[in-house]
């Protein structure tokens, strides 16, 4: 069951990603990206990380992608141009992709945890545990990220502010 659901959502995820690249209309690509985000959230849920899964839906599918769709609608972006693609990408890209994939899978298999699959419905990542970890073990990373976000907000304010001279 677990494996079946993982394969199902994984297929959705990969299919959405491929569809994202193949679609000519920008808005269809954005919608495929939402499918990718949604299936990633479901895979997090299979891993027992309920909080991360829901936050993935709220932040990525609910906020960031709405912004993307909003901008696409606002600019009324037309169809994409289809280019033939460079020969360098064809010669080195596909073998490179395979090599990278194989190395990645090999590394992951080396570091595979000894535990078996989680039973469905077992949640190991409740919100309070995540919050506790963020404010104790990963406090530095958390605060650094918050400063990064603050700088991004200030950048947005500076860019949109009309000059008063």
């Amino acid at each position: 069951m677990h494996q079946f659901l993982f394969l199902l959502f994984g297929a959705f995820c990969v299919g959405g990603a491929i569809n994202l690249l193949l679609q000519k209309k920008t808005i269809n690509s954005a919608l495929s990206l939402i499918v990718v985000m949604g299936s990633l959230a479901l895979i997090y849920l299979l891993l027992g990380a309920e909080f991360v899964a829901v936050v993935q839906v709220i932040i990525y599918a609910g906020a960031i992608m709405v912004l993307y769709v909003f901008v696409i609608m606002l600019l009324n972006a037309g169809d994409e141009e289809v280019v033939k693609g460079s020969n360098v990408a064809k010669i080195f890209g596909i073998p490179g992709l395979f090599a990278g994939g194989i190395i990645g899978i090999w590394v992951l298999l080396q570091h595979r945890p000894a535990e078996k699959l989680l039973p469905i419905g077992a949640m190991y990542g409740p919100a309070d545990k995540v919050g506790e970890l963020l404010f104790t073990k990963y406090l530095l990373a958390f605060e650094v990220t918050s400063i990064l976000v603050l700088i991004a907000i200030m950048g947005a304010v500076v860019l949109t502010r009309r000059s008063r001279v």
């Binding site: 808005i27 829901v54 709220i58 609910g62 906020a63 769709v69």
Partner: protein, 357 residues
């Protein structure tokens, strides 16, 4: 409880909740026309049935029998997907709302909540992150409106849906932040748990609802953001009929239009449910020990539905009273007033809880 009983109970709960929700949606439309009529010194619907009570039925038949028109030059797939998306997202979120405590019927005990179950200790329990799931579903509801406007290929629709997406994105922030104060006090994200935290009274009279525990500012921020989230007057700019014909659903007719209509009213019900669960104690209410046991069993449902009725009436009342915001006023109100106020509420509540601990 065996798997089959669980399945049957779940299906019954879903069917009953959905039926009640759709009936409430239909009769909220009736109530709105009636109340707004009386506010404006008219009678409202009164021809179909006594007091016009069969009007929703007549409207439904009309919507079903009208010609289902698809205008040319629309983006067909997205045009058809949008109303379905809006309605599905609006109807799904009710599944997480705790409507009542555990009921015992035909030897089976289950909480009156679709996602609620009884755990090993005999207590009712539900999804740990229920509140976040509701917020996630409502944030996905924006796509229905955004895609409707874009795919219709019409300037009124596009303007309406641009307004709707910008407005819903902006007010979602203060809506979410206004709930954080309650979450700090309750210490849980499960809606059932939040209701359980509000049982009991002070001096046997005043219920321990979060609105009485210094969250009244948050309650008003929530209500104002909720009005904006559901695109209701005074925040109904996405469908401002004086400027945009009908906003994002200008190009929709017959049942597809009715789906947007139902989605809007179902969203109103969900927002009212969430308000009563977070701030007004959900199904809890003052105890009435003098009533017979059979009536006592129904009391939680009565409390919950009267709270929902209060919020729905408030929606209609305000619609009959207030004019519409201007667009820049809407954005300034959301970002420069509600957002800082919600942040201040979070900080003050956090200090309060830390000081008490």
């Amino acid at each position: 409880m065996s798997a089959w009983t669980f399945l049957i109970v779940a299906v019954i709960k879903i069917a009953v909740t959905l039926g009640v929700l759709l009936t409430v949606v239909a009769y909220t439309v009736w109530l709105e026309r009636k109340v707004v009529g009386h506010i404006q010194n008219r009678w409202g619907p009164q021809r179909v049935g006594p007091f016009g009570l069969l009007q929703p039925l007549a409207d439904g038949i009309k919507f079903l029998l009208k010609e289902d028109l698809t205008p040319p030059y629309v983006e067909k797939h997205l045009y058809l997907l949008a109303p379905a998306l809006a309605l599905i997202m609006a109807l799904t979120s009710i599944a997480l709302v705790p409507i009542g405590p555990i009921v015992h019927l035909f030897g089976i005990s289950t909480p009156v909540q679709i996602t609620g179950v009884i755990d090993a200790t005999g207590q009712s329990s539900d999804i740990n992150v229920g509140l976040l799931i509701i917020l996630g579903i409502t944030s996905l509801g924006v796509y229905g409106i955004a895609l409707a406007g874009w795919s219709s290929n019409s300037k009124y629709s596009l303007l309406g849906s641009l307004r709707a997406s910008a407005q819903m994105m902006s007010y979602e922030v203060s809506l979410g932040l206004s709930l954080v104060g309650v979450l700090i006090l309750s210490g849980t994200l499960s809606l059932g748990g939040i209701v359980k935290g509000q049982l009991g009274t002070w001096f046997g009279v005043i219920p321990q609802w979060y609105i009485f525990r210094w969250q009244f500012v948050a309650f008003f921020i929530y209500m104002m953001s909720a009005f904006a989230e559901t695109n209701r007057i005074p925040f109904d700019l996405p469908e401002a009929e004086t400027e945009l014909v009908a906003g994002y659903h200008t190009e929709y007719s017959a049942m597809k239009f009715a789906m947007f209509f139902m989605a809007e009213y179902a969203n109103m019900v969900t927002v009212a449910c969430l308000a009563s669960v977070m701030f007004l104690g959900g199904w809890s209410g003052p105890p009435m020990p003098f009533l017979p046991a059979v009536v006592q069993a129904f009391l939680p449902l009565v409390w919950f539905s009267s709270k929902i009725f209060f919020f729905l009436f408030l929606y209609i009342w305000i619609r009959g009273t207030l004019p519409r915001f201007r667009y820049d006023q809407l954005m300034a109100f959301g970002w420069k007033f509600l957002f800082p106020l919600a942040l201040a509420n979070v900080v003050i509540t956090a200090f309060f809880v830390a000081w008490r601990a």
